[in-house]
């Protein structure tokens, strides 16, 4: 997976990245291809050179924008003979085609070759940075080359300034954002958007992200390390200079979208009230809460969402989003936690509750909140970092790693370890290598038996998927590794939907077994979700407000199609929307193939095949290898993929035609 095999049919002629950029620019458009389209800006950080173009209309009609067009760019610019942290491997920011233009569409993606997993890196974040890109006429930002010194890229008009970042080197998120605000005399979210790394990114920590706000983070796959490899401390985009006049009036439909999403039960009754920590309880009660590196699957009710209530002063949200689903926390006056800079913060999300609660043996709400606040400051991906720590704890428990005092639930050791990780000090240097600690020689090969990862990426969320087979398949086939946000069939947990076969058939376009632990038809649901969510990312919509993710009633293809037409003038059918989702996945699989990914990588951690769930209504459940393999084959079949998980020849030729356009 790490490198392209010699003689692979995917090998491209050896070209430097500058030659690749030249060749790509020659094929791009020099004028906007539709109303509101922004530029794709190529920045050579080593030479401080900037070039611009527009994505061809054919590419936009095939992949829309955001994640989709990022893949077009990466496919064209990636040299798989390099290594992920080589400065000639670009880091690409993209905004969705409707980012900032539609309620709750405030998202964008950061894409590259993951230094953490070794496969595709593609991470999504909201807050304000993606919207400020769009508001300033930048749809995609392609960064490559290593800046001669630490640099902050500052867009205040069309031309960026290459600002000496020396004053901010070594700063973490809290101090950095304060100092940037003072230096540029502005307010984040009002005057500018900022995406920046902390000391962890500077130190090439593989579980570090790019902070897009106090908590918002391009998290998965090591984006922080990738940005650090370019000597780039951050990108600051100020102003609102773009002409975003839509092709047709769009505000009336926007109003309908907002009403629809605000009227949806999961938004109204859950996300707006407590945010995602609500998820902890059902997973715990199902016996599916990943605990102690998934050795166990249930944990204390002390971490249920209502127990976080006393520490939640309010909720926050992203640009132009009416939902405001991000819980804040404040432990001021709490005798169980130090009254320092980490006494208050932003979050936690469910992922953090799980990864820094049961996964590492922590039982106290205040401790989870404090670790959340520390991770936000240090710029650490809580999913990867929590997973790496849990993995280390199990290795210590089993005596595979010795000489390290790291026990389940040892709060003080964990807190210290986070700071050591960001600085790559002591055992923190091992955690900083995340899932690659065997490859880097820190753990023996047998440690891999206990790594909860797929395609080199540790699991994004704490839900143990041995019970719900659609979840398991989704984690196995997700193109960026073991991550639920690419395709999770979240509604598989909802009895009311499971018990209505007709509704379920209509929802997914085919028969899907009512029983969550059955393998029958789950590929149909995963396919539908993967398409829908890929389109959502290409549009810029938040996953929490995209149809099928937690609700059948949220905005989906119909609303996206209408607003793409209203905003850009591009006319698409509902079938086109579904095809776009499939195409994005197809391109991602072509990129992964360049990196050596094959069918064997669409799998699950060994533990889930061999060890059964020990508690709850599905006690005894695990993944059956033959059933799983059959389900994977069916998934490939309905996804128009070969037995090795690649687009079938005719479709592949079509995709490559677009990629070469």
């Amino acid at each position: 997976m790490e490198q392209l095999a010699q003689g692979s049919p995917f090998r491209m002629p050896l070209m430097s990245t500058r030659q690749r950029v030249d060749a790509l620019l020659a094929r791009l458009a020099s004028e906007p291809q539709f109303p509101t389209q922004g530029e794709t800006v190529f920045v050579d950080l080593e030479r401080a050179e900037v070039r611009r173009a527009y994505i061809p209309r054919r590419v936009a009609e095939t992949l829309l924008g955001g994640r989709g067009v990022n893949m077009f760019l990466l496919h064209n610019l990636l040299d798989a003979s390099l290594t992920p942290l080589h400065p000639d491997v670009p880091l690409i920011f993209g905004t969705g085609i409707l980012t900032s233009m539609v309620p709750s569409a405030s998202r964008g993606n950061a894409t590259s070759w993951s230094p953490e997993s070794g496969v595709l890196m593609d991470s999504n974040a909201g807050d304000y940075f993606p919207s400020f890109m769009k508001l300033n006429g930048i749809d995609h930002l392609v960064l490559y080359g290593k800046a001669p010194k630490w640099t902050l890229l500052h867009f205040a008009g069309r031309e960026p300034n290459f600002v000496d970042a020396a004053p901010w080197v070594g700063l973490d998120n809290i101090d950095l954002r304060e100092r940037i605000a003072a230096h540029f005399n502005g307010v984040e979210g009002k005057d500018y958007g900022l995406a920046a790394i902390t000391s962890a990114g500077e130190n090439l920590v593989l579980c570090s992200g790019i902070m897009a706000g106090p908590k918002a983070i391009y998290a998965r796959g090591g984006p922080g390390a990738k940005m650090g490899s370019l000597n780039l401390k951050g990108v600051l985009i100020a102003g609102r200079t773009a002409d975003l006049t839509p092709a047709h009036p769009h505000k009336l439909r926007n109003r309908e979208v907002a009403i629809k999403l605000l009227g949806t039960s999961v938004v109204k009754n859950a996300l707006k009230k407590r945010g995602t920590p609500f998820l902890y309880k059902p997973s715990r009660m199902l016996g599916a809460m990943g605990t102690k590196n998934n050795q166990e699957t249930t944990w204390t009710d002390k971490l249920d969402a209502e127990n976080i209530d006393p520490f939640r002063p309010g909720m926050e949200g992203c640009f132009a989003c009416p939902v405001n689903c991000r819980p804040l926390n404040d432990m001021t006056g709490c005798e169980h936690t130090p009254q320092d800079r980490y006494v208050k913060g932003d979050g936690p999300e469910y992922v953090t509750v799980g990864k820094f609660g049961p996964n590492i043996g922590i039982r106290e709400v205040e401790q989870v909140l404090r670790l959340n606040n520390i991770c936000n400051d240090l710029g650490l991906d809580t999913a990867s970092t929590g997973s790496a720590i849990a993995w280390a704890m199990e290795l210590v428990q089993r005596g595979i790693v010795t000489g390290v005092d790291l026990q389940w639930g040892d709060y003080d050791a964990i807190e210290k370890l986070l700071f050591a990780t960001a600085r790559r000090e002591g055992f923190g240097n091992v955690i900083a290598n995340s899932s690659r600690a065997v490859e880097t020689g820190h753990y023996p090969p047998e440690a891999l038996d206990y790594l909860m990862a797929v395609k080199g990426l540790t699991q994004s969320d704490p839900h143990d998927a041995r019970i719900l087979k659609a979840f398991a398949l989704g984690l196995a086939v997700a193109t960026r590794g073991m991550d639920h946000l690419r395709n999770r069939v979240t509604l598989e947990i909802n009895a009311k939907i499971n018990d209505d076969p007709g509704f379920k058939r209509e929802l997914y376009g085919g028969d899907v077994s009512a029983e969550p632990n059955s393998y029958t038809g789950k590929e149909v649901a995963v396919r539908k979700c993967e398409n829908t969510f890929a389109v959502g990312d290409a549009v810029g919509m938040c996953r929490f407000t995209t149809k099928l993710f937690n609700s059948p009633s949220l905005p989906g293809y119909e609303e996206f199609r209408d607003q793409i037409f209203n905003v850009t003038g591009i006319e698409l059918s509902l079938d086109d929307m579904d095809r776009i989702g499939l195409d994005i996945m197809g391109v991602e699989r072509l990129i992964n193939a360049k990196l050596g990914v094959t069918r064997k990588d669409d799998t699950l951690p060994k533990r889930w095949f061999e060890e059964a769930i020990g508690v709850g209504p599905f006690k005894g459940e695990k993944i059956d290898r033959r059933e799983f393999d059959d389900m994977l084959s069916r998934f490939y079949l309905i996804s128009n993929l070969t037995d090795e998980g690649l687009p079938r020849p005719e479709w592949r030729a079509e995709l490559e035609g677009v990629l070469a356009s």
Binding site: L279, T490, P516
Partner: protein, 75 residues
């Protein structure tokens, strides 16, 4: 007698815990008049175990503890 624990959003002036006679989960919905409000977001848990399908097949027994849980799985 069945003990039913309600989430904040479905209390509608009731306490967090109510008791009633009920033989099925449908009985509970009917007696609490939750037919409209109880959408896909809410699952039942019986004696601490989440019910994810086959609600109609659940037979309640005297002393059972039922909880209506805000249940979603993507975050």
């Amino acid at each position: 007698m069945i003990t039913v624990r309600l989430p904040e959003t479905l209390r509608d002036g009731r306490g967090a815990i109510v008791t009633m006679d009920a033989a099925s989960l449908d009985d509970i919905i009917g007696r609490l008049e939750l037919e409209e409000e109880r959408d896909e977001l809410y699952n039942f848990a019986v004696n601490g175990e989440l019910i994810v399908h086959g609600e109609n097949e659940v037979v309640l027994e005297d002393g059972d503890e039922v909880e209506i849980v805000v249940a979603f799985s993507g975050g």
